[in-house]
């Protein structure tokens, strides 16, 4: 079963993490930034499950962490979209460059 070494799975999750980070750096639209954050959280989930499977196969802690992260990601996405819709209502734009009123 363990024909694929652990480092290859970690390669995938690391690459996905930095793809999400690239998106977070280059995007200006709040919704696409939220999408990049989802990619980051998913790469972390892959890491947790892979470590659990390869290093501690008789425990379940990685699976629990993954489930909790998914729950918190759902809450985070809901709150973020509520904020985005509220921002759109007051500014008619969800570009981060337009929301500068809290800038010091």
């Amino acid at each position: 079963m363990n024909e694929v070494p652990l480092t290859h799975i970690l390669f995938v999750s690391t690459a996905l993490f930095f793809i999400g980070m690239y998106g977070l750096f280059t995007r200006k639209n709040l919704i696409t930034m939220l999408m990049s954050i989802e990619l980051l959280l998913n790469s972390v989930n892959i890491n947790f499950v892979a470590f659990n499977k390869y290093l501690f196969p008789d425990k379940l802690d990685g699976v629990f962490f993954t489930i909790f992260i998914i729950t918190i990601a759902a809450a985070e996405a809901a709150v973020a979209i509520a904020i985005i819709i509220n921002l759109y209502r007051s500014h008619k734009s969800i570009d981060v460059e337009d929301a500068t009123e809290l800038k010091f």
């Binding site: 690459a15 930095f18 639209n29 990619l39 998913n42 892959i46 499950v49 996405a77 509520a82 819709i85």
Partner: protein, 206 residues
């Protein structure tokens, strides 16, 4: 190369390709659809790792919940066919450089670390085991985080409703109060006016 390896590399290429298109696409709706494909690919990776429960949760929560929510908010806030402006060349170059540097650095650490290989125990995750340990109050039970995260979810859902609710706008709110006071005073003049002036005249004035 066995079939399992081939499946793993195919799923990985699919995830990474879809993720890359999702962060570079200039049309926001297409970016959301590519994100959907990437999340489905990650669920496939969980199936490949034989954690079927997590894969099912991934599909239900991410694909069925979060991506649909994102698509809704795209439709609510902007024209989905419009192209987004591309990031400036300088920003792109520096972002690519920092991502590549971070990736190289991290992967260098991972590949040099030398994880133990000899572990060949089968990894089976029964849903009953997850449920038992999730709600057990003994050592290594997860009942406290479970309760905390459920309260967090409830609080954040109520918070979302409060944030996104359309409040009565503040500027019309003050005239409303004045109107209310006017209305209390109003009946007397209107009652006086209506009998004194014939109705056709009022309509003509209006």
């Amino acid at each position: 190369m066995t079939a399992s390896q081939i499946i793993f590399y195919a799923i990985s290429a699919f995830i990474l390709g879809a993720g890359l298109l999702s962060v570079t696409s200039t049309k926001i709706f297409r970016a959301a659809i590519w994100l959907l494909f990437s999340l489905v690919g990650i669920a496939g990776l969980y199936f490949w790792m034989q954690v079927e429960f997590v894969a099912a949760v991934q599909i239900v929560v991410y694909v069925g919940g979060i991506v649909v929510l994102i698509i809704f908010s795209i439709f609510l806030t902007q024209e989905s066919g419009k192209k987004m402006p591309k990031p400036s060349a300088r920003k792109t170059v520096f972002s690519v450089l920092s991502a590549l540097f971070g990736f190289g650095f991290t992967y260098n650490l991972i590949s040099k670390y030398g994880f133990p290989i000899g572990n060949t125990k089968p990894f089976t995750v029964a849903v009953s085991d997850i449920g038992t340990q999730m709600l057990s109050t003994t050592n290594y039970g997860y009942i406290l985080p479970f309760e905390v995260v459920s309260m967090l979810l409830l609080a954040s859902m109520i918070g979302c409703i409060v944030i996104a609710m359309k409040t009565p706008e503040q500027k019309p709110g003050e005239p409303k109060q004045i109107k209310v006071t006017n209305n209390e005073d109003a009946p007397a003049p209107t009652v006086v006016v209506i009998p004194s002036v014939p109705e056709p005249l009022i309509i003509a004035e209006v």
